[in-house]
C-alpha cells in the first residue's frame, strides 16, 4: 500500500520552500536542487501543485513560485490529493461506483477500507506545512544558510 514517489517528492519540495524560501519566490530549479531531484521531474510535480492551487507562479527575473494558500492551510493530505487524485486505499471509499462487483450493494469489506482510509487521512489532513516547518527548524536549528543535504 505505497504512496506514489511523486507525492513524497512534492511534500519534500514544498517543505524545502517553506523552510528556505518564505520571503521570496523559489524557482523549480532551485527547489529541485534542494531536494536532489531532476528539474524536469520537479516541473511535473509543480505543474500539478499549481493546478490544485497550492502554488502560484510569480513572473519576472526573480520569479518562481510562492504558496497559493496560507502555509498553515496546506496539509500533507492536500498535497497527496493534488498529486495522486485521492488518498484512499481502495477506490470505493470515496466513490462507490468505482466498484463494478455484483456484490457491491451488500459489500462486506468496504467498512474496513473506510477505517483504513480514515486512519491515513486523519494523520495526513492534520499535518500542515507550518507545523512541519517549525518541527524541522527545531530539529535542525536555523538552517536557512546551510546546505540541506
Amino acid at each position: 500500500m505505497k504512496l506514489s514517489t511523486k507525492s513524497r517528492y512534492a511534500l519534500e519540495g514544498l517543505l524545502y520552500m517553506a523552510v528556505y524560501g518564505t520571503d521570496r519566490p523559489m524557482s523549480v530549479k532551485e527547489t529541485a536542487a534542494g531536494i536532489s531531484v531532476s528539474a524536469a521531474y520537479m516541473e511535473q510535480i509543480f505543474f500539478k501543485l499549481k493546478k490544485a492551487g497550492l502554488l502560484s507562479p510569480v513572473r519576472g527575473a526573480k520569479g518562481g513560485f510562492i504558496f497559493g494558500q496560507p502555509e498553515n492551510e496546506i496539509t500533507v493530505g492536500s498535497i497527496i490529493r493534488a498529486i495522486d487524485g485521492n488518498l484512499v486505499p481502495v477506490g470505493c471509499v470515496d466513490n462507490l461506483s468505482a466498484c463494478t462487483s455484483k456484490a457491491r450493494s451488500s459489500c462486506v469489506s468496504r467498512g474496513v477500507w473506510i477505517r483504513i482510509g480514515s486512519a491515513i487521512s486523519d494523520t495526513a489532513d492534520h499535518l500542515t506545512l507550518t507545523m512541519l516547518k517549525n518541527r524541522f527548524i527545531a530539529e535542525n536549528g536555523d538552517v536557512k544558510n546551510e546546505n540541506i543535504n
Binding site: 500500500m1 462487483s101 469489506s109 474496513v112 494523520t123 499535518l127
Partner: protein, 143 residues
C-alpha cells in the same frame, strides 16, 4: 496508494467465510457465488491463507474451509499481511537527505502507526459486528 486485487478479494472472502463458517465447512463455490468472485481466483487466494494458518480446509463432497481460530483472534493485520505483505505507505527512495529522513519519521511513519493501530486493533469479529449493525439499521430505514 492502492490495495491489490488479491488484498481486496481475499479480505472479502475471509469476511464471508467468518460469517458462514459456524454452519460447518464452507465450500469456495458458495463464497464465489455470494461475493461474485471467480472460483479459480479464490482457490489461489485460499492456498495462501491456508499456508499462513488462517484457514483450515478439508477435501471431499462436504469439504470446504473454516477459520482455523475464532474470529476475535484474527486481526486485519493477520489477514492483510498475508495478502498484501508490508502495509507501510512508504519505502526508502534515493539518498537519506535531512529532509527525507525528517519526513519519514514525522509524516510517513506517523501514518503507518495510525494505520497499524486499526489493523492490529480490529478483528474479524469486529468487522462482522459492524456488518450486523449496518444490516439492522438498513432494515429500520424502511420504517
Amino acid at each position: 496508494m492502492k490495495i491489490s486485487t488479491k488484498g481486496r478479494y481475499g479480505l472479502r472472502a475471509m469476511i464471508d467465510l467468518a460469517i458462514h463458517c459456524d454452519e460447518g465447512y464452507v465450500p469456495l463455490a458458495s463464497i464465489s457465488e455470494r461475493q461474485d468472485l471467480s472460483l479459480n481466483y479464490l482457490e489461489s487466494i485460499f492456498a495462501y491463507l491456508k499456508r499462513a494458518g488462517l484457514v483450515t480446509g478439508i477435501a471431499g463432497a462436504q469439504g470446504g474451509y473454516v477459520l482455523s481460530r475464532p474470529a476475535d483472534k484474527i486481526s486485519l493485520l493477520n489477514i492483510l499481511s498475508v495478502l498484501e505483505g508490508d502495509m507501510s505507505v512508504y519505502d526508502s527512495v534515493g539518498d537519506e537527505t535531512k529532509i527525507r529522513s525528517f519526513l519519514n519519521r514525522n509524516v510517513w511513519e506517523a501514518i503507518d502507526q495510525n494505520v497499524n493501530k486499526v489493523l492490529t486493533g480490529t478483528t474479524l469479529k469486529d468487522v462482522m459486528e459492524e456488518i450486523k449493525t449496518q444490516c439492522l439499521s438498513n432494515d429500520c430505514s424502511g420504517l
